[in-house]
């Protein structure tokens, strides 16, 4: 059975339509506890604090240089401007000023490069550490946590959220700091030049901020609308293409095209509105900044006629006022980015701080010397409090016994496996192995004594050899081959182009279902445990492979205590004991013949599920 416990109420599902998904993207998430998360995030950055301070120093320098450059440029312009004391150009002073200016420019370029390097390093190291920590906590998360969270959601935390943080660290933090520094510096310098012109500049800047804030708010509406329609189109296409056979079978192509066209047209209309609105932003901002330009030129001209300022000052002011408005817009943009990143960080820390799987007790337990006597005593269990799955279950599997567990879907068969491997823990009652309560021994030792072959085979990217060796990391190539041979997998592996070194793509999608099953059996053979759990499945396997799997399983079960969640009649008949689970209790137990003779629930189950007789 696939490892899905009964439906969890309130488990975050990822079933929302694509429309919702898109709309959700746009409502910017607000982090819950900015201070705390930011503190944790800073701790990560703090691990490379020297790099961070170096970056800060470089940025300070760049800002200083950026402020100095227009000043020096102004001196240069003044050198070529005729004044009362001098009619021509002061060539000597001009040359020395230009050399100075060149040096400032050169240094700025160098520092900018260093800033790029440092921030790249800082962001990459931070994100790498974060990823590693996140992965480490993921590996140690209890199965319960993974079952209860949508896999898509977990993956998105590990990819999108981490990626967001990376961009924020490498870009936003840098521009935020340099933006603030520039604004402050520029403002101070402008003040020293001319408080009046500064006032004019600041006015236009407030105008810019005001207009852009208003526009953004107005624009957002159209963009949300656009995303929602795009989401609907997305959903329609996906639905029509995946359901294409049905569309064709009912000749619904034209209807589907018509619906698509109407959505497409809607998208065009909103698109135009959004675009006009967005397109207005640029010219409008341009207008305002040009407006400021004119004001500075006109007032500057007037001031210079009054003799309050020089011509060079006007030139410098124009440069400064440009330097002033750019970072302010940027800070506004970065604020939104940083907010998204912190919300992402919050989700990441949530995973990191989830309670890891308990390590288990400390009683000595050696997987090699396990006898394999398993006993469930009066076990109660529920995945969610209201819905009890096992009710006082008693089950004794003696050493070396082969037990087949049968029962309807949802009767609790898989739960027994989940409890024995401590993927979940009992609510009450005990599970013992060789008489020892499994909660009192280390989880890792317990699991080393058990091998599981699941219905949904899990293979990892890597070679076939790597995948078999999963059962025992230090096995030699010969041992791997011997295990494959026992599992009847050697035959098909040898026919592959690279044999044991064949790379599996995407979880083994280049193998057939049966071949994958054989590989996971080989893995269990190599692990050579005393206790074996088989969730046998052959629904999508051809007859020949089915025979192989069958034989491989029989070979595997020899000399081991085996728990088989049985789907196939032959396994059931070969078992030492058949246990019928019904509504979380052992309803009947015994050999096939005994149970048939009883004419109880096994008999009925057998008649409907296997013989196919109508009841």
């Amino acid at each position: 059975m696939p490892p899905t416990p009964p439906m969890m109420p309130g488990a975050p599902g990822s079933k929302g339509g694509p429309g919702n998904r898109h709309a959700a993207l746009l409502t910017r998430e607000k982090p819950q506890n900015i201070k705390k998360t930011l503190g944790k995030l800073l701790k990560y950055i703090g691990r490379s604090r020297y790099l961070f301070f170096a970056l800060l120093a470089v940025m300070l320098l760049i800002t200083g240089l950026g402020l100095a450059a227009p000043m020096i440029q102004q001196i240069a312009i003044d050198c070529i401007t005729p004044s009362e004391t001098r009619t021509g150009v002061d060539i000597d002073k001009l040359i020395s000023t230009l050399i100075l200016l060149g040096a400032v420019y050169g240094l700025t370029a160098l520092m900018t490069f260093l800033q790029g390097l440092f921030s790249a390093k800082l962001s990459q190291i931070t994100v790498r550490t974060m990823r590693r920590d996140l992965f480490e906590s993921l590996v140690h998360l209890p199965i319960k946590y993974i079952d209860n969270h949508s896999h898509g959601d977990l993956m998105s935390r590990m990819t999108n959220d981490v990626e967001n943080i990376s961009t924020t660290v490498s870009q936003s933090i840098g521009s935020l700091i340099s933006g603030v520094l520039t604004v402050i510096g520029t403002f101070v310098i402008m003040l020293t030049y001319s408080p009046l012109l500064t006032l004019i500049s600041v006015t236009t800047i407030f105008l810019t901020i005001f207009v852009s804030a208003k526009m953004t708010k107005y624009m957002k509406r159209f963009f949300v609308e656009q995303q929602v329609i795009l989401g609907r189109i997305n959903g329609h296409v996906e639905e029509m293409v995946t359901g294409f056979r049905t569309v064709a079978a009912y000749s619904k192509e034209q209807a589907s095209i018509d619906e698509f066209k109407s959505m497409s047209n809607e998208l065009r209309k909103t698109g135009i509105k959004a675009q006009i609105c967005g397109g207005m932003m640029g010219p409008l901002m341009n207008c305002i900044s040009n407006f400021g330009f004119v004001l500075i030129a006109a007032f500057g001209g007037w001031f210079s006629i009054q003799g309050w300022i020089t011509v060079g000052t006007i030139q410098a002011f124009i440069l400064y006022s440009k330097q002033f408005s750019r970072p302010i817009n940027e800070i506004a943009n970065q604020y939104a980015n940083i907010q998204t990143a912190i919300a992402g960080a919050e989700r990441i820390f949530e995973v990191m701080e989830a309670e890891p799987e308990p390590k288990g007790g400390s009683l000595p337990f050696s997987p090699e010397n396990v006898k394999g006597d398993i006993n469930f005593k009066n076990v109660d269990f529920s995945y969610v409090p209201e819905k009890q799955v096992l009710h006082g279950l008693d089950l004794w599997v003696k050493q070396g016994q082969k037990i087949a567990i049968v029962g309807a879907t949802g009767s609790g068969k898989t739960t027994i496996v989940n409890l024995l491997t401590r993927f979940y823990d009992v609510d009450s009652g005990t599970v013992t192995v060789d008489g020892t309560d499994i909660t009192e021994i280390p989880v890792s030792e317990l699991r080393k004594s058990i091998a599981i072959v699941l219905q949904d085979t899990v293979l990892f990217s890597g070679t076939i050899r790597d995948n078999i060796r999963y059962g025992s990391a230090d096995a030699t190539d010969e041992q791997v081959r011997a295990a494959a041979d026992k599992a009847y997998a050697d035959e098909f592996i040898e026919r592959l182009p690279d044999k044991y070194d064949t790379l599996l793509t995407e979880g083994g999608s280049n193998l057939s279902q049966g071949q994958r099953q054989l590989l996971s059996i080989a893995r269990a053979v190599l692990a050579d445990p005393k206790i074996l759990i088989l969730d046998e499945a052959t629904s999508s396997v051809d007859t020949r492979t089915e025979m192989h799997i069958q034989s491989a399983m029989v070979a595997l079960m020899k000399n081991r205590t085996s728990l088989i969640i049985a789907h196939r009649l032959s396994t059931i008949r070969d078992a030492d004991k058949i246990v019928v689970i019904d509504h979380g209790r052992v309803a009947e137990a015994g050999s096939h013949e005994e149970l048939i003779a009883q004419h109880g629930s096994y008999y009925e189950l057998y008649q409907t599920q296997f013989a196919g007789n109508k009841t």
Binding site: L138, S264, C287
Partner: protein, 572 residues
């Protein structure tokens, strides 16, 4: 580009965009010149009137420029959005007309991306080119002209710095682009290790391989960082290098300007204007080179769309109805293989005639060709050799809609759509009223769960029927097919999620209400088809037997094998 024809209906808008843009750019270019006028004719000669006069002119031009800017945004929006809509409609229409073989080849995910992301990319490129390309080109050319007007020597500065900038951008991008794809590949690795550990958590834990997985992840993670750093270091060079060039040009202009002012060939204000122009020009070049990046990305999208548009539908209509019978299906020497399976025949020389009103079952192992066989009947695929006849006429001679209106097929994977339960069922017959829909649901034993849903038949079914169980989805699909009242009804293993008891009663109801309909049932369990008129047994693409159950038990070895594996020792 072939997609350019989609712009044709919007040519007026497409042309108006750059025209309006010219206005905006001219104004921008005029500003430094006007500024120099203020300085040279107003400030230096201390003429307040000139300052005010020029200031007012500047204001007026700015307003005109702004209006032009908004206009060009609007025109370009109309052109690019209209372009995108027409393209999108054509691509979707094409997709709907393709055969399964062809859509299979493209895959759903890729078709969705093509219809959304790719089209958006191209739409943005169109918009971008209409406005930004024109704008930057004009800035570039206009800036150069204005500078030359000021002083020819300034042209020299541009002539030297401009090519250097272009070379820098091109070289860095050339080196960076392959690195970006390396990064993408490594990111995939990191993600896939994560994915495997989420989905395979049970196996990782069962084999106590947490340490091993952490090490594996560490390696992938480290590789990603190395690749990322490499490309980031390279790109970090770009900005400083461009800055150096730009600033060197400014220095040169001040110096040359100084000499010219000394020689009284130039005014101070003009030097200041030249500085603004040179920054504008070099900035324009930077933007242009960045733009070529996005053009190359969009051209990949265009290629993908053209691929769809140029695909010729493999299955097309025949001339029309020339059927001679009603409710019959016949296979004559049919051989079939999927193009992707490399010529290995999935069906091999099948000869089978299904009589009107017959109840036929098809049985066989997975991969024996059962589904492929029935897929040939509504022409989901075409036979490679031999012919398939429906109602006595070759399926290829029918119009597709006509052919498919005679056939109801319930697929292995039930496909429901996001609409209400009633709407989903009424796909079978759009004109059916509520009573007919409910009756069909009742026959399919779907009524019992639909009627207890919160809004009954008006309950919305989530996308792909995600809110329903497998068995419920199957029963709704069956209801849909029943409502269609076809001559030939095909069940492609469509009761697999039902328990045997429900299945049996469903079959019973179907038999009663579908009298006279030819029914073809694919099944896995012998138990579900024992009572059919005939059972066709497929083995590795060949028909190895077709007779009632009792006869097959005597004569057909494959059938006996299947029987034994399913019911071994059951009743003896």
């Amino acid at each position: 580009m072939k997609l350019a024809r989609y712009l044709k209906p919007y040519l007026v808008f497409a042309l108006l965009t750059p025209a309006a843009m010219i206005g905006e750019v001219l104004v921008d270019l005029l500003q430094p010149k006007l500024l120099s006028q203020i300085v040279d004719d107003g400030v230096l000669p201390q003429n307040m009137e000139v300052i005010i006069h020029t200031g007012i002119i500047m204001m007026l031009t700015i307003v005109i420029g702004g209006a032009c800017g908004v206009g060009s945004a609007a025109f370009s929006g109309m052109a690019s959005q209209g372009f995108a809509r027409d393209l999108r409609n054509d691509v979707f229409e094409k997709v709907m007309r393709l055969s399964f073989q062809q859509t299979d080849k493209f895959t759903t995910g890729s078709l969705v991306t093509r219809l959304t992301a790719d089209i958006t990319a191209i739409q943005q490129l169109v918009d971008f080119s209409l406005r930004m390309l024109v704008r930057n080109l004009m800035f570039l050319i206009g800036g150069i002209i204005m500078m030359m007007q000021l002083n020819v020597r300034f042209g020299l500065v541009v002539a030297i710095s401009l090519p250097i900038e272009v070379v820098i951008v091109v070289v860095i991008m050339r080196f960076a682009n392959p690195l970006y794809s390396v990064v993408a590949g490594r990111l995939d690795n990191v993600n896939s290790v994560m994915q495997e550990n989420v989905t395979g958590a049970r196996v990782v834990k069962a084999y106590v391989q947490e340490e091993h997985e952490t090490k594996r992840f560490d390696a992938a993670n480290g590789d990603l960082m190395t690749a990322n750093l490499k490309v980031m270091k390279l790109v970090a060079l770009l900005q400083p290098l461009l800055m150096i060039i730009m600033n060197a040009a400014v220095l040169a202009i001040i110096y040359i300007g100084g000499l010219q002012v000394e020689a009284a060939n130039l005014k101070v204000g003009e030097v200041m204007a030249a500085i603004t122009y040179v920054t504008q020009i070099l900035h324009g070049i930077m933007m242009l080179s960045m733009m070529f990046q996005s053009i190359s990305r969009a051209s990949a999208s265009a290629k993908r769309l053209n691929e769809v548009l140029e695909t010729v539908p493999a299955i097309s209509d025949g001339e029309g109805d020339n059927s001679t019978e009603k409710g019959t299906v016949e296979f004559r020497g049919v051989t079939f293989n999927y193009p992707s399976s490399g010529g290995r025949p999935v069906l091999n020389g099948i000869n089978l005639r299904i009589k009107s009103g017959e109840n036929l079952a098809i049985l066989g192992a997975t991969g024996s060709g059962k589904s492929s066989l029935v897929n040939l009947i509504p022409r989901f695929y075409d036979a490679v050799e031999g012919e398939v006849l429906v109602d006595g006429a070759n399926v290829k001679s029918f119009k597709l809609d006509e052919l498919r209106s005679r056939i109801g097929i319930v697929l292995q994977k039930s496909e429901l759509f996001s609409a209400t339960a009633a709407e989903n069922i009424s796909w079978g017959d759009p004109s059916a009223d509520r009573a007919a829909i409910e009756q069909a649901a009742e026959i399919a034993r779907a009524d019992e769960f639909i009627s207890v849903m919160p809004d009954g038949y008006d309950t919305r079914i989530a996308e792909k029927g995600a809110s329903l169980s497998g068995g419920q989805k199957q029963r709704m699909s069956i209801a849909r097919a029943v409502l269609k009242k076809p001559e030939i009804l095909i069940f492609d293993d469509s009761t697999s999620a039902l328990d045997l008891r429900t299945e049996a009663s469903l079959r019973q109801r179907l038999r009663e209400s579908l009298a006279g309909t030819t029914v073809i049932t694919i099944a896995q369990r012998i138990a579900s088809v024992k009572d059919c008129d005939r059972i066709a047994v497929l083995d590795h693409g060949r028909l190895v037997g077709c007779a009632p159950h009792e006869e097959l038990m005597k004569s057909c070895e494959v059938y006996q094998d299947i029987y034994r594996s399913q019911v071994k020792g059951g009743e003896d």
